[in-house]
């Protein structure tokens, strides 16, 4: 029997054998998270998206048991994994839904990371073990209604009264997990610069109404945080940082994860298109046998493989401790853009079926619009890389 030329059919999903770049542990972790997502998320997430819900309690418990919350942190119940492993977990969770990956990365990189990096011993003991286990949920409040890409223009402020208490006032906007959080890490202007506050969400004066009418990241909770004379003890401030470096370092962690996550979403779209094209017949033949369809499928595959290589490379650099913020921008900007394009094109391969939440691509496509905007918009990352290669600041 004649053998097909070139790679075997089963390599359609890993054409360049990128798995060979991973260790056995990394593959095992990746496969475990993939199986969790295939069994516990994929069958239901279309419906969650339709209904605009995210069953966070159940998912927090499962993700906590898997050990993915704050997995790249050391101690306090965190697993102490490599950056690469954290990236792989982001890739697989986002192959399910960007909302799931957001849940995991906000908890680990935006809420746990600042407590871990800048918190007092008491703050770490109080929050990190419970957050790692998924028993407490965190959120990260930086963006405000009038302060997005330029967070240093924030208005939320904290004043220390003579007794030592802090009094927090202001509003945060577009805060993932806000309404379901037990603890909010809120960044505010103080006399000593920008500081982070660990705010239990049951503190008087704090409220977090949910933002409705989203067409993107519907299986994710996005909220406003309103702080009206929120009184906190002196010990609520993160002692370790008092500048924009605090929130920006958190974002750098999360953006790294998005470089991987976006590839997962793109891969999911490619797989959906490949499978659909193989079984959908028009003009008496599968649509995958048309040259125009094959060109698209090959294009998806190529881009997903390229994105995978970029992500893995960033992972290795980060684990060597040499990954710079502008290189993270490379991954975030390029892979999210790639994923958004693949999602849009893959959607169209599925024809009319492609516009429903029965299939993944349209959901990913809409989700990726948020991913394109948050954690530094596409343009902001362009400017960061522009500044890195020219030495000139084009932000203002």
């Amino acid at each position: 029997m004649a053998q097909p030329l070139g790679p075997k059919a089963e390599d359609a999903l890993d054409f360049l054998a990128t798995d060979s770049l991973l260790t056995e542990d990394e593959v095992m972790l990746r496969d475990t998270v993939r199986r969790y997502v295939e069994e516990q998320i994929n069958p239901y997430v279309g419906e969650w998206f339709d209904e605009g819900i995210f069953p966070h309690e159940e998912i927090a418990k499962a993700i906590g048991q898997l050990g993915l919350f704050g997995m790249h942190l050391e101690g306090y119940g965190c697993a102490g994994s490599s950056a690469m492993m954290y990236g792989l977990a982001c890739m697989e969770t986002e192959a399910g839904d960007s909302g799931l990956r957001s849940f995991v990365s906000v908890q680990g990189s935006l809420a746990m990371f600042p407590i871990w990096a800048y918190g007092s011993e008491e703050q770490k003991q109080e929050w990190l073990p419970r957050m790692a286990a998924g028993e407490a949920i965190g959120c990260f409040g930086l963006t405000e209604p009038d302060s997005g890409s330029d967070p240093s223009s924030m208005r939320t402020n904290a004043k220390q009264d003579p007794g030592g208490d802090w009094v927090l006032n202001g509003a945060k906007m577009w805060i993932t997990n806000g309404s379901i959080a037990d603890v909010a890490v809120v960044w505010a202007r103080t006399d000593e610069g920008i500081r982070g506050f660990v705010v239990p969400t049951d503190t008087e004066g704090f409220s977090a109404p949910k933002i409705e009418r989203k067409v993107s990241l519907r299986a994710s909770v996005t909220s406003e945080l309103i702080m009206d004379d929120v009184r906190l003890p002196a010990a609520a401030v993160l002692p370790g940082v008092s500048s924009m470096r605090g929130p920006l370092s958190c974002l750098n962690e999360a953006r790294f994860g998005i470089s991987f996550g976006a590839v997962g979403a793109a891969r999911s779209c490619y797989e959906a298109a490949l499978e659909y094209a193989g079984s959908r017949e028009q003009f008496g033949v599968p649509i995958s046998s048309f040259q125009l369809t094959q060109q698209r499928l090959v294009d998806f595959m190529t881009r997903v493989q390229q994105g995978t290589l970029v992500a893995y490379h960033l992972g290795r650099l980060k684990d060597q401790g040499v990954l710079g913020p502008a290189q993270v921008s490379f991954g975030k900007r390029q892979n999210v853009r790639m994923a958004l394009e693949v999602a849009r094109e893959a959607r169209s391969v599925l024809g009319a079926n492609g516009i429903t939440t029965e299939y993944a691509p349209a959901r990913h496509m809409n989700n990726l619009e948020s991913v394109y905007t948050y954690e530094g918009t596409n343009e902001i990352h362009t400017l960061m890389m522009g500044q890195a290669i020219t030495g000139q600041n084009a932000f203002t």
């Binding site: 089963e10 056995e24 542990d25 095992m28 972790l29 475990t32 199986r35 969790y36 499962a62 048991q65 898997l66 050990g67 993915l68 997995m71 697993a79 994994s81 492993m85 977990a89």
Partner: protein
């Protein structure tokens, strides 16, 4: 409480396997994974040890090519250590030989309880657990859906067509577990990392005292003389509903003597 769980490592059922044209057996030169049928036994073992408040789950597996990945998965779920029996002499072993080899490895560990799957997903003779019990001269309960430990005995709910039997059984014993009765945990990240450094003891059939001609093709004396494709399912009968369809369906079922 010391529980030994038998875990078979099998070719991934998602990748259609191929038969070796010479021996007419399944080719096993691909990467093998933990048989899902055995993930239930691993989970049940881990739960029993948790409930007992002490002890450990150890694993035994007989597999070609020193395959370990299925064992690593079960170690990552929480088993403490594993014994792998693998050598070329074992190729061609039938179910009884498999049971003898596994029994020899189990015996050394002096377990309180041996758990196996009711049947594997690839060979599915559904005989190995009972043969292990016979070789070790231990009581055996099949098709367990739950196991409760009380002192040096267990009470087993044994699945039947009508419901379940409640069986009391002294320990040590060999219990086969029905697929789907517990929800196997996902290996945790910490479990995956810990699995690397858990003891995995590799043994050959000779280490367990078997002569080369007592195992494998020679010892089993089995030969698969023929294999045939399963017959194609015949097309069903379509009954168009012209208002009388229910009568035709009743007649059809009566002819089958099912009503």
């Amino acid at each position: 409480m010391k529980v030994v769980v038998c875990v078979k490592q099998i070719p991934d059922p998602a990748d259609p396997g191929a038969l070796d044209p010479e021996t007419r057996t399944l080719k096993r030169d691909v990467k093998l994974i933990l048989d899902e049928s055995d993930s239930y036994g691993v989970e049940m073992g881990l739960q029993l040890v948790d409930n007992a408040g002490g002890g450990e789950v150890t694993l035994v597996s007989m597999a070609p090519n020193n395959e370990q990945s299925g064992l690593r998965t079960a170690l990552a779920m929480g088993a403490a250590s594993a014994t792998l029996i693998s050598d070329t002499e074992l190729i061609g072993s039938d179910a009884l030989t498999t049971a003898k080899v596994l029994a020899a490895a189990i015996k050394d560990q002096e377990p309180d309880l041996v758990i196996a799957g009711s049947e594997s997903s690839d060979g599915y003779t559904g005989t190995v657990p009972e043969m292990i019990a016979a070789v070790l001269d231990l009581p055996s309960v099949t098709a367990a859906k739950s196991i409760e430990v009380g002192g040096d005995a267990i009470q087993v709910q044994r699945q039947t067509d009508a419901g379940y039997d409640v069986v009391d059984c002294p320990l040590p014993a060999v219990i086969s577990v029905t697929a789907g009765v517990v929800e196997p945990r996902y290996p945790s990240f910490k479990g995956i990392m810990a699995a690397k450094s858990k003891p995995l003891d590799e043994k050959s059939s000779a280490d367990l005292g078997f002569a080369a001609d007592a195992v494998g093709w020679a010892g089993s004396g089995q030969e698969i003389v023929d294999v045939a494709e399963a017959p194609q399912r015949e097309a069903g009968e379509v009954i168009e509903d012209d208002g009388e369809a229910h009568l035709k369906i009743v007649e059809f079922l009566e002819n089958l003597k099912v009503i």
